[in-house]
């Protein structure tokens, strides 16, 4: 990929985010001129940079968005929700395009059509008052591109009929002019053949030479004619067909209004410039001047870097230069597409254009008088200027790989202790063993620090997971007709990126649930004596080595009676449970599989998989979910997640000679009780600990491993806590705790649900880590 394009794509992502954020803030606080300016500048920069590449749709769409924003900035329009919707949609579309560009280095084929619809929408609010200065600035309003004068080669009647048709159907046609050069026959080109291949061709017409030669002077091998054509084919199709002669073809997309205006005699004097030139409200505007410099510098770089600049690239560079020149108040003629000439023009503009006297450029710009610095600036192509610490953008995979290596290092390091033991036991050298242990402790310290450093790199603020919610809440609340304020707290709390990523889906579920089921309609709220605007609070706090995320709403809350009844109807609880269950327990029923209280299934949530899925995915992360709710005042869902998933602490126990790991967070205590103290209640072994009866499961039996405990020995029992319940596991022996990098069970082992993963121990043994929930399930089935 061309480095300039790669740079553009990288920056586009940031620009899009800032536009999104700005628009949402703007909707809340429409009057803030600073915000409008910010969004406008982002859109403007976007358009400016996009001009360097051959993405006409992108440029046109951002141009339309920019015009609308400019009108808002100038106080000629007030931004309403409809406009915000359109603007957001436009930038969403751009985001989609850029994803496509990243892969294929061109816009998707549907770009033209998609853009046309949005452009018309965006232009809508501007079109109302055709006499205001807004329109003067951008003379063509409803048009997708200004009608070029070469349309006159088509017959009037046909244009007339077509204009009516396009207006009636609100559709557009693409018009192209193809002017083959005189010598094209010698290169085995046949323009008419090319045109005959244009799909969905509506009309062609001939562009005759200015003067036909007399029959005697006629050179039949010189191509004198050109063609204009109208087609329903997409931009992509046209680009492809004319890919060898792009500089001889000009394509515009026109709608009925544009044609009509053309027929009425309004022709844009300089169609090319009018289409792409930035809205220059004031050449002295330092922001515009700054952008123009950035574009010029970028053009200079790309002219210099690419000795053989192709026709299209050259044309688009020329475009940008012309736009920039216009912004600087210098109308240069760039009719000749000649690399040297362009370079010259750029140099002249960069070097000689005097700084606008009325508003001197900001000091930062003056400092950049050395040409080298200008070029750097062009590369960075960032008119905002990076202020603050230098930040490296690193590919996620590289960090993941680094983490894996740290894991391997830990395993290799742990091997040293075994080596020390064997040095002593097998070779009888106590000194050597001690020295190895010394080395080990040094290595251990470095490995720990390295691990901490890598973990730190992987830490992301929770704002990454929260960032999509303002938009989600806004869109959904509009759709549901609810009035909701989203409050976010503690976005800068950090957690491992895996946790953040895995958190995204559960959070969406929970917020949707709150929106859909929790929050009442404004009327209902008023009737209940609450303010009509509901509030959803997303908050995050760090709590030791865990992060706690809460989703709270002040909606109707959960009715425990209703929930119990529903659960009973669905056969999730027995009749006794229905009678005896407390309110808190009842609320937690919503996490059971197959539970949904919504009377009607909506497309937002309410298929009875939501909360169940949330609990499952949070538990997979090693976290917990709890819910508290008070009828009438709202609900709070609390997610507790480990800060990091990369390293898991496990307790190693052995059963029937085989070692297993159990996540330490589940372990409550380890006890040894004499065999006689184990009692039996209802076919279940139990042990009484401090007055509490704890069921004991024989782990060996649950895993079907033959083992009988020694009658005389004490029983070793590991007490774990799962969903607030204590369970004892009868094991053969306790070992130490180890930090392991857990690898999921994959491939042939994927079926074994009772294990959550494997880990490599320092002595090279593979440790199976138990998934306690499944193991208890197995034990229950076996009993």
């Amino acid at each position: 990929m061309n480095p300039l394009l790669a740079q553009f794509l990288a920056e586009a992502a940031d620009l899009l985010t800032s536009v999104d954020e700005g628009l949402l803030q703007l909707e809340r606080d429409p009057g803030d001129p600073e915000l409008v300016n910010e969004v406008f500048r982002a859109a403007h920069t976007f358009k400016g940079s996009s001009g360097l590449f051959d993405f006409p749709e992108l440029t046109r769409l951002t141009h339309a968005a920019e015009d609308l924003l400019d009108a808002v900035r100038g106080g000629k329009l007030d931004l309403d929700s409809g406009m915000t919707d359109d603007l957001l949609a436009a930038f969403d579309l751009i985001r989609g395009w850029l994803a496509h560009v990243t892969q294929h280095e061109r816009l998707p084929a549907s770009a033209g059509a998609d853009a046309a619809i949005l452009i018309t929408k965006l232009r809508g609010p501007l079109g109302g008052d055709a006499t205001t200065p807004v329109v003067e600035k951008a003379p063509i309003v409803h048009v997708i591109a200004p009608p070029p004068e070469w349309l006159s080669h088509f017959e009037q009647e046909w244009l007339d009929a077509t204009a009516t048709w396009l207006t009636t159907t609100s559709s557009t046609l693409r018009f192209a002019r193809y002017l083959p050069d005189e010598g094209c026959f010698f290169r085995a080109e046949d323009p008419l053949h090319l045109i005959s291949q244009v799909p969905a061709l509506a009309r062609i017409a001939v562009v005759p030479p200015d003067e036909w030669p007399s029959p005697d002077d006629y050179d039949e091998y010189a191509c004198l004619i050109g063609f204009v054509l109208a087609t329903r084919a997409g931009h992509g199709e046209l680009d492809h067909l004319f890919r060898y002669v792009p500089d001889q073809v000009e394509v515009v997309e026109l709608d009925g209004d544009a044609l009509r205006r053309f027929l009425n005699g309004e022709v844009a004097p300089e169609p090319v410039e009018a289409a792409d030139a930035p809205v220059v409200d004031d050449p002295q505007d330092p922001a515009v001047v700054e952008d123009a410099y950035a574009i010029l510098a970028a053009a200079q770089t790309s002219l210099r870097d690419q000795q053989e600049v192709g026709g299209v690239r050259l044309a688009s560079i020329a475009h940008s230069i012309a736009s920039a020149a216009a912004a600087l108040g210098d109308i240069s003629e760039l009719s000749d597409l000649n690399a040297e000439q362009l370079t010259e023009t750029v140099n002249r503009l960069l070097g000689s254009t005097p700084a606008p006297p009325a508003a001197p450029p900001p000091p930062a710009l003056i400092e950049r008088s050395a040409p080298e610095e200008r070029i750097d600036r062009g590369r960075a192509d960032d008119p905002g200027g990076q202020v603050g610490t230098k930040i490296l953008k690193v590919d996620q995979e590289k960090v993941d790989h680094l983490m894996e290596l740290v894991g391997e290092l830990n395993v290799a390091k742990n091997g040293l202790t075994f080596l020390a033991d064997s040095a002593e036991e097998e070779f009888g050298s106590r000194v050597l063993s001690r020295r190895i242990k010394d080395q080990y402790s040094g290595l251990h310290r470095i490995a720990e620090e390295l691990q901490a450093a890598v973990m730190d790199v992987r830490m992301l603020p929770l704002s990454v997971a929260f960032s999509r919610f303002p938009r989600l809440v806004r869109d959904l609340s509009r759709r549901l007709g609810k009035n909701i304020e989203l409050v976010m707290e503690g976005e800068d709390t950090m957690a491992d990126k895996d946790v953040i990523e895995a958190l995204a889906d559960p959070l969406v579920h929970l917020v949707r649930n709150s929106l859909d089921h929790g929050i009442e309609l404004p009327d209902e709220r008023t009737a209940a004596g609450k303010p009509p605007q509901a509030r959803i609070t997303l908050s995050a706090v760090a709590d030791g080595d865990a992060v706690v995320v809460e989703i709270a709403d002040d909606g109707r809350g959960i009715d425990p009676v209703k929930v119990k009844r529903k659960a009973y109807e669905k056969g999730l609880i027995s009749e006794e449970e229905l009678e005896s269950m407390g309110d808190q327990e009842a609320v937690e029923l919503v996490f059971r599989a197959g539970f949904s209280t919504a009377d009607q299934v909506s497309d937002l949530s309410g298929r009875g998989v939501g909360m169940d899925a949330v609990r499952a995915s949070v538990e997979k992360l090693g976290g917990t979910v709890t819910m508290k709710s008070e009828l009438g005042t709202g609900s709070v869902t609390r997610l507790r997640l480990p800060l990091s998933m990369a390293v898991t602490q496990v307790m190693v126990v052995s059963v029937a000679g085989q070692r297993f790991g159990i996540p330490v967070d589940l372990v409550v205590e380890t006890v040894r009780v004499p065999g006689g103290e184990i009692g039996r209640v209802l076919h279940q072994d139990v042990v009484v600990l401090r007055g509490e009866v704890v069921p004991v499961i024989d782990l060996a039996a649950a895993l079907r491993m033959p083992w009988t405990p020694d009658e005389n020995d004490d029983r070793r029992i590991l007490i774990v806590s799962l969903h607030g319940q204590r369970v004892g596991l009868l094991v053969e022996q306790f070992h130490r705790e180890v930090d392991v990098i857990l690898k999921p069970m994959e491939g042939l082992l994927a079926y074994a649900d009772e294990f959550s993963g494997t880990a490599l121990l320092g002595d090279g043994l593979v440790l199976l880590v138990l998934n306690m929930k499944e193991v208890l399930g197995l034990a229950a089935r076996a009993a």
């Binding site: 026959f185 085995a188 046949d190 045109i195 009309r203 006629y218």
Partner: protein, 91 residues
């Protein structure tokens, strides 16, 4: 042979390539009231079209080929394109 030149009529058949442009132009230049039969013509090279546009021969027989009939013939027949409006109505 894509090009059959007779005294007053030229018959263009199948694909008229750049090789036929020169003889066609020479014939048009020399012929008093040329007539061109395009009925079985499937494609006209741009050079041939240009020659036909310059010399404006009478098209004695319309081409059967859809593209030529709908799009190219109006160019030849209509001078400045005012006559035939075949295929021009937007669907």
């Amino acid at each position: 042979m894509p090009l059959e030149l007779h005294e007053a009529t030229a018959t263009l058949t199948d694909v008229v390539t750049v090789d036929e442009v020169e003889p066609l132009a020479a014939w048009l230049r020399a012929t008093e009231k040329p007539k061109v039969n395009l009925r079985r013509c499937n494609h006209l090279h741009t050079g041939a079209l240009q020659a036909l546009l310059l010399f404006r021969p009478k098209i004695s027989s319309a081409p059967a080929n859809a593209f030529l009939a709908e799009q190219v013939l109006p160019l030849l027949a209509g001078g400045n394109g005012t006559a035939s409006r075949q295929g021009s109505e937007p669907p």
